[in-house]
């Protein structure tokens, strides 16, 4: 046995452990922890980005669906309005036609009446004239009756 060797080894042990404690361990473990943290942060960021992407995709899909529904609504409205307009126009035209027809018929009836009135007057005049002529000539009762009847029927 050799005390000096033991004590020397013991002192060397302390010095090496101290050196490792002060100048080796903290640097290595620090770098490793830092790298671990960086990797963990990176992974976290990646999964967050993934989640964000999924959210964004879902949101985009939603917006797209809304827009689609809105467009469909607009088209439906427009179609309805167009149909409405066509119906209105048809109804207007219909009533306009009625009105114009009625006016025309009224005109025609009026004209007819006026013509009748004037004809009646003329016929009366003609009758009076005829009567004068007949009275001027001889009155053949029977013949003139027939004549007059015929005139009256023509009126």
């Amino acid at each position: 046995m050799s005390w000096v060797t033991m004590i020397g080894q013991s002192i060397a042990f302390f010095i090496f452990v101290w050196f490792c404690w002060k100048f080796i361990w903290p640097f290595l473990i620090g770098a490793m922890r830092e790298r671990q943290q960086t990797i963990a942060d990176g992974l976290e960021a990646a999964s967050k980005a993934q989640r964000d992407l999924e959210h964004a995709e879902a949101r985009a899909e939603e917006i797209l669906n809304e827009a689609r529904a809105e467009a469909r609504g607009i088209v439906d409205d427009a179609r309805g309005q167009a149909a409405q307009m066509v119906d209105n126009a048809r109804a207007d035209a219909e009533s306009e036609r009625e009105r114009i027809l009625k006016a025309a018929q009224a005109d025609v009836a009026q004209e007819v009446n006026r013509a009748k009135e004037s004809l009646r007057g003329e016929v009366a005049d003609l009758a009076v004239l005829g009567a004068e002529r007949i009275l001027e000539a001889s009155i053949d009762r029977e013949r003139h009756d027939a004549l007059l009847d015929r005139v009256a029927a023509e009126l």
Binding site: V4, T5, A12, F14, V17, I24, W25, I29, A31, T38
Partner: protein
């Protein structure tokens, strides 16, 4: 041949010893007998030199890795060093649950240092002693962990730390209470004291002797196989055996370094334990 073999083995097992010989005064011992006669106050120069040298190698290599340590992409050296550091950190944090910053670096130092000392066992047994004798140095034992003084020096340092932390954490009273009132009730304190002291002392002694025994036995096998050399067939057989034993020994040296480090951590964790559940 027997005398020759005995001499060969003795030569390989003798440290380069510096000390005061009762007759020759201060100087290096030139025979194994003289080395033994120098007694306790001699120093095994080869053990200390190799052990300190390997410790310095550890410090330099790991320090250069630590200086260039980056949290970015690590280089080759940093990678290798980080594997060891990570391994030690995992091991320590699974065993040692208390707050003490020095335990993990200590475990790293012990593991790598003891591993390097054990690694010297894989250097063919004759190379460096031959080289040393060419340079005029008679004895050269290059595996510090086959020197019980080295391993016990380390394990008694651990023993000192066990007592230091026990007293630091539990106080002097707490430390002696643990020695006296455990495992039996306090009125059996002489028995308790005896048992606990044996337990306490068994830790460093077993720790140091385990490493020494394993490495000494391994070294012995290398030396015995080396005795085979001579003649083509025997030399070839010896070479194959050396190689086979070295391959197996790679396991032993790593395992023993790990065991020393882990047991140190366990003992220090026990020293920090304040609850008496064991």
């Amino acid at each position: 041949m027997a005398e020759d073999a005995g001499g060969y083995i003795t030569h390989h097992l003798t440290n380069l010893t510096y000390g005061k010989h009762p007759e020759d005064g201060w100087g290096f011992a030139d025979t194994a007998e003289k080395a033994a006669e120098m007694g306790f106050w001699s120093i095994h120069v080869d053990s200390i030199a190799w052990s300190v040298g390997l410790g310095v190698v550890f410090c330099l290599v790991f320090r250069s890795a630590a200086k260039r340590a980056t949290a970015g992409v690590p280089g080759g050296l940093q990678n290798a060093v980080e594997i060891i550091v990570d391994f030690i950190d995992d091991t320590v944090s699974s065993i040692f649950q208390h707050r003490n910053d020095i335990i993990a670096p200590m475990a790293l130092t012990i593991f790598v240092w003891v591993f390097l000392m054990n690694l010297m066992d894989l250097v063919p047994v004759d190379w460096i002693p031959k080289l040393a004798s060419v340079l005029g140095v008679e004895y050269m034992k290059i595996v510090p962990s086959t020197d019980p003084n080295v391993t016990l020096g380390m394990s008694f340092t651990v023993f000192f730390l066990i007592i230091y932390y026990s007293i630091k954490v539990k106080g002097v009273g707490g430390f002696f209470k643990e020695l006296l009132c455990h495992p039996f009730p306090w009125y059996l304190f002489p028995v308790n004291f005896l048992l606990e002291t044996v337990t306490l002392l068994a830790k460093p002694i077993s720790l140091g002797l385990r490493l020494y025994g394993n490495l000494f036995a391994g070294e012995m096998i290398f030396i015995l196989i080396a005795l085979l050399y001579g003649g083509i067939v025997l030399s070839f057989a010896g070479g194959v055996l050396q190689w086979g034993w070295a391959v197996f020994h790679v396991l032993v040296i790593t395992l023993q370094a790990f065991v020393f480090a882990v047991l140190t951590v366990i003992y220090l964790a026990q020293a920090h334990d304040t609850s008496e559940e064991h």
